[in-house]
Amino acid sequence: MSKQDFKILGTRPIRPDGLDKVTGKAMFGADKSVTGMLHARILRSPHAHAEIVSIDTSKAKALPGVKAVITGADFDELKNRWTGYTSQNCMAQDRALYDGHAVAAVAAISKSIAAAALKLIEVEYNLLPHVTDVDEAMKPGAPVLHVGVKARKLGDEVSGNTVGYYSFGHGDLETGFAEADEVIERSFKTAATHQGYIEPHACLADLGSDGRGELWCSTQGHYNVRLICAEILDIEESQLRVTASEIGGGFGGKTTVFIEPVALMLSRKSGKPVKAVMTRDEVFRASGPTMSSSMDIKIGMSKDGRITAAQAKLRYQGGAFPYQMVMMGAMSAFAAYDLDHVQSEGWDVMTNRPKMISYRAPGAPMAVYAVEAVVDELCQKLELDPIDTRLKNAAREGTKSSYGPTFKAIGLVEALEAAKAHPHYSAPLAENTGRGVSCGFWFNFGGQVSVSMAINADGTVNLIEGNPDIGGSRASISMMAAEALGIPLDRIRTIVGDTASVGFSDVTDGSRVTFAVGIATINAANAAIKEMCKRAAMIWEIDEDAVEWVDGAAQPTGHNAGEFPPMSLAEIAAVSGKTGGPIAGHHEGAPDKAGVSFGVHLVDVEVDPETGFTAVKRYTAFQDVGKAIHPAYVEGQIQGGAVQGIGWALNEEYIYGEDGRLQNPGFLDYRIPVASDLPMIDPVIIEVPNPGHPFGVRGCGETAIVPPLAAVSNGVSRAIGKRMFELPMSPPKILKAIG
């Protein structure tokens, strides 16, 4: 696919949601209130694993101002198993499965009465053995979270907590390792991390006795919220209208429900609107962090840097319910390399922790971290240049990937070459400083999408998408619509519709929105263009096929060419009332040709040899994004991903005590990087167009969190002269390694 000339794509217009956000006008999850509304509070288990013997809510119910109290008993009769687990995660049934698991909830006329009512609920627990570590949870004899969900292919060597097993690869490992001059085999561990969105989960639910419901919430996918809540509350989807608020970050963490079914149930019981807002403590204890991991990596390399064989064994811990995510790790682990002999296996494991949910490129960062750390160690050992070595093995168009498919046009080689040529790579290194390199990969997704576009009589355009805008989609969708229609950007206003105003749309995740909604937008624009050409043909009294759309206007073509002056979109729209009524375009579909995306990160870290403190001195991130519709947003995505990965590498971790309780449920001891911790992250956009999108778009939101873990780890390992095998590399761990 050759590079195209664009008028609007690639420019950097002001963001459409900017003014509302900086002036405080934007309405986030907790910002909506209605008259007569009640406040919800949720009682949570202080135990990692306990049988709920009894719950006495009578005293709470008797407290003046309390309008409803619910427990797991209100959520029985579950039809669908998967929604059943989601429901049980929102409200425990007979067992509390992790510290923070909801066991009861109240709705009251004030927050303080609701809080007081929680203290009046008496829960009798019978403590059960718990397990929070992945390796412990996999051992036969470990306390099993749910019986009967063990992955079918597995035998007695692993416990019933092992709910998933996957294997990918090709070739013959033994042959490959025999060809190697150097084989390194290492074990790694990474801690569970949280997405760290600043806005806690919040919603306002109103479920009337007529079965009609309204739900306002902070979510990445309101159709998904509708689907799950309608199922749990046993109402028809059409009767529950869900509106997505502005969102203060999600990064995957808002792709499911936690408090929404609870608020709806409280509303149904009380007959009043109910607002529920999580505290930060609740966000940490009872939303969905990402998996922790334990991994073994073995890679063989020839003296000249060719990877001869590669093997990964990934064990992920995903919390208290069955889940599937290690597959993504097993597929991503070796995606960057063109290998003859490769195998990756993965095990999904349950523990007494909150159930995992997606976090930016879910499953990939830890797997790629472990692989890239071993690749770096091999480079060190064989005295090879880390970028040249990666170039030698890099996947390119036509490579059969380690997870099966053959790659189409991809930009890994371009990213590596850009990194090699960048001044950062050749800059001298100061004392106690190490330079780390890592590749990263993410699939990117397509999925179901609906877009509706109305051409207004004044020549402006309204566009409704069904995907919450978490990364700038209102800007990029408007830009793609303007490009497709051939009109100025300021004529277009894009909004995120509620579930009653536009068709189904999958969750905003998988870096899919600019790709999938973009395709739907282009198709919707083309539908509107077709209609406008038809109207022009009608006015000119010529054949519909004799009209073409050029630069935002209809013009006669073929033997009619030049017969009439072109009619602009505004001119056609102005008379639409007399030519057949309003003009609109819409598109529903499920595009599936999202192009995979690769990134390469370079980092210089300085380690204080006396304290183990790591300072990130310089950071450059290269990423193939296909086509950067709005480069400033794309740069923001790359920078944000890098920063989250740096946090994961250095300080972020869920810390569980012996008692199975989370010890750091807050931003003081769950340390995301603060601005002063970081240099300016320098993003370098690379554009190798995705042949599966008319404008060449690939997703760009997730790839950037994948390389930083290994890049930082490799930098630290080189700075201190000792290899590091565990994340986070908090100062005590580094100081210990230095010795």
Binding site: L650, N664, V674, S730, L735
Partner: protein
């Protein structure tokens, strides 16, 4: 909960001494956070900020007196104070962020009783003296004498600190404060050190105070560490001995913020680095 703005220190003492559960509030950056986290409010919150003189920084014969409600930001803008006690000011300025600095007070930091409070090691090294207004009138007590344990001080019921005196700094002397945190700001000290040095005419350490924070139930003065520096120009042996003395004085907890081993090692590192800064500030040549 009742909120009362005290008109003068006698009123405040009376209010605090009267019923159970009355609590003073200065900047509120600890009090409000604690109220929110515990969900429990004191019966009476006595705001001290309107007490006459409580927000003043005054030069006296004996030194410089800092009112109990002077904020960190105000201390950071007082040149006389910064020149005389740069270590104390840098310790207070490390508290929180720009927003927190506008409210947080040094005295609130002391009275909150955290073993990791940033100003306290610096106050110990400076030999600061707190002026206390209580049921029986006014008394002056060294800050050292007020420390008791995590979340506690030796202040009695109804006792109130109205100001802190930093003694007049000796000639050729200076102080410094350093803390270790895993990030660069918005964090709690894992180990910290305040050092105050006085040099003789030859540039040799004549007097020294070394205090550590976050490595014991309260901040501690480490006499052996100070002794190791006296009579030296901070040569390698002296620095090593100082660090070892600090390590010996450590009695830290093992928790999510740092292991015993780590806190102990880093306390020595902070002390010797702070000593070098104080030494140079006092005019010493390394």
């Amino acid at each position: 909960m009742r909120y009362i703005v005290a008109k003068n220190s006698r009123d405040a003492v009376a209010l605090l001494g009267a019923g159970d559960g009355a609590q003073p509030i200065a900047g509120g950056t600890d009090v409000l956070v604690q109220m929110k986290l515990s969900g429990v409010a004191p019966s009476v919150l006595v705001d001290l900020k309107k007490i006459p003189g409580i927000r003043d920084i005054v030069l006296e014969d004996g030194g410089i007196r800092i009112g109990a409600c002077v904020s960190g930001a105000e201390m950071g803008e007082n040149d006389a104070l910064k020149n005389m006690w740069p270590g104390v000011v840098e310790a207070v300025e490390l508290i929180g962020s720009t927003q927190v600095q506008g409210r947080a007070t040094m005295v609130g930091n002391l009275c909150n009783g955290s073993p990791a409070a940033d100003s306290v090691p610096a106050l110990l090294a400076a030999e600061a003296i707190a002026r206390i207004e209580g049921q029986d009138g006014q008394r002056d007590i060294p800050v050292f004498g007020l420390l008791e344990g995590p979340g506690r001080t030796k202040l009695g019921k109804g006792d109130l600190i109205t100001s802190v005196l930093l003694p007049k700094a000796a000639k050729n002397s200076a102080d410094a404060y350093l803390r270790f945190i895993p990030r660069t700001e918005m964090d709690i000290a894992v180990a910290s050190a305040g050092v105050n040095l006085q040099l003789d005419e030859a540039g040799v350490v004549a007097a020294a105070k070394v205090a550590l924070g976050a490595v014991a139930p309260t901040a501690v003065l480490v006499e052996d560490a100070a002794a190791a520096l006296i009579g030296t120009r901070l040569d390698e042996a002296a620095v090593k001995q100082c660090a070892e003395a600090c390590e010996k004085a450590c009695n830290p907890i093992d928790d999510k913020r740092g292991t015993i081993e780590f806190r102990t090692k880093v306390a020595g590192v902070m002390a010797t680095r702070a000593a070098k800064i104080a030494f140079q500030r006092a005019g010493g040549l390394l």
